[in-house]
């Protein structure tokens, strides 16, 4: 059985979550071959790139052949995807020999959890510092948040890697970072906790962001990582988080002074977990060059 999927014009995780995933992954049996048609594509966001990358890996992992069609290199969005190394990652070659990563992106990479920790400091944060002019020391909170997510993949899943893509929008001074894994998903892990058993996927994701909520996959887990991400990105930086996992879509954004959760149930399907981080870099607090004076 062969299935052809027309990708939506707006290539963002929520659109793919609702349309593509539901068509493909909602059914009991996966087709033997899937063709993703890029003809209608007009606009690309990092979350769309990482989402389709994750779905592709999921399909191939389950024995499904995946092909990309309608990849017209005269279209700017296709050239952007090629420069982002999407086709290199998933088809083994660039569409255009002279495609190169753009200065405003950290191209799509699938990276082992172990290697990611060093990569975040040496590549991601270094790139963002150069792009935005913000000193590395003031990007420590953001870098630690991304490390927390890779540590979560290590601690709570069997997945040995995650996929990540980042883009800097200089005019808006906005950064978007999308990261995904093919683990069991946050809802499945969260429901291992007695108080969360039986809750919906979206509610389970909300619980996972509470300080101290932990599935204790490892003895040292204290339930801090996702809470810390929320505090830094939403509470401190006025940014937003979008999480897709299982059948849930969850958005976290500040309302007044507190982070507010918006839960959507049964909107689509996401294998594993995808987290999209968006904020304006102008919100990052600058610190003096001298180290902080530590007082308890």
């Amino acid at each position: 059985m062969k299935t052809k999927i027309y990708l939506p014009s707006q290539f963002r995780a929520p659109n793919l979550f609702r349309s593509v995933s539901q068509q493909l992954l909602g059914s009991a049996e996966l087709p033997r071959r899937v063709e993703f048609d890029f003809t209608r594509l007009r606009f690309v966001r990092p979350s769309g790139v990482v989402f389709l990358s994750n779905v592709t890996r999921h399909l191939r992992h389950n024995g499904c052949e995946v092909a990309y069609v309608g990849t017209n290199t005269h279209m700017e969005c296709i050239r952007f995807l090629d420069d982002s190394q999407f086709f290199l990652q998933h088809s083994g070659e660039l569409l255009r020999a002279h495609s190169r990563p753009r200065a405003t992106t950290v191209p799509l990479i699938e990276i082992s959890n172990e290697a990611a920790l060093l990569w975040i400091e040496n590549k991601l944060i270094s790139w963002l510092s150069t792009s935005s002019g913000i000193p590395v020391r003031d990007l420590s909170e953001l870098g630690t948040c991304i490390k927390e997510l890779f540590n979560n993949i290590s601690d709570h899943t069997d997945a040995e890697s995650g996929s990540i893509f980042a883009q800097w929008y200089p005019n808006e001074r906005e950064i978007r970072i999308s990261l995904a894994d093919l683990g069991p998903g946050i809802p499945t892990t969260a429901r291992r906790v007695g108080s969360a058993s039986g809750v919906t996927d979206a509610k389970a994701i909300q619980l996972a962001f509470e300080d101290g909520f932990t599935a204790k996959s490892q003895p040292n887990n204290q339930g801090v990582g996702l809470h810390y991400l929320k505090q830094i990105v939403v509470a401190n930086l006025n940014g937003r988080l979008e999480i897709h996992s299982g059948t849930a879509e969850v958005k976290i954004q500040k309302a007044g002074t507190e982070p507010k959760f918006t839960l959507y149930e049964q909107r689509g399907f996401c294998p594993g977990t995808l987290i999209d981080i968006v904020f304006h870099t102008d919100k990052i607090e600058r610190s003096p060059q001298e180290p902080e004076v530590f007082e308890w």
Binding site: L117, V224, W296
Partner: protein, 99 residues
């Protein structure tokens, strides 16, 4: 006073294993009543996984007030300072209310 240069014993403050290394290095001195200065020079940041293995377990052995008296921290950036101070405080309060 014992001075622990974090970068000389671990490459980074990212993983539980790195945290356990630092914990092993400081626990004995603190238990012996010595002052311990932890020098974070050159450390980019500290994850909760590291924190949970390096510092949180100190609270299982020593009173928080004693840790605060004996443990000094230098050359730490804002992220490290906030993570260390806030997580230790939260965990000490949890232990107190559970007792």
């Amino acid at each position: 006073m014992v001075v622990v240069h974090v970068k000389s014993i671990v490459d980074a403050c990212d993983t539980p294993t790195q945290g356990k290394t630092v914990f092993s290095r400081i626990l004995g001195s603190l238990k012996a009543g010595e002052e311990v200065e932890i020098d974070f020079l050159g450390v980019f940041g500290m994850t909760s996984s590291f924190m949970n293995c390096a510092f949180i377990p100190l609270l299982d052995t020593l009173p928080f007030e004693q840790i605060k008296r004996q443990m000094k921290v230098v050359h730490a950036n804002r992220q490290i300072v906030n993570m260390l101070r806030e997580r230790m405080k939260v965990h000490a309060e949890r232990l107190k209310s559970a007792a």
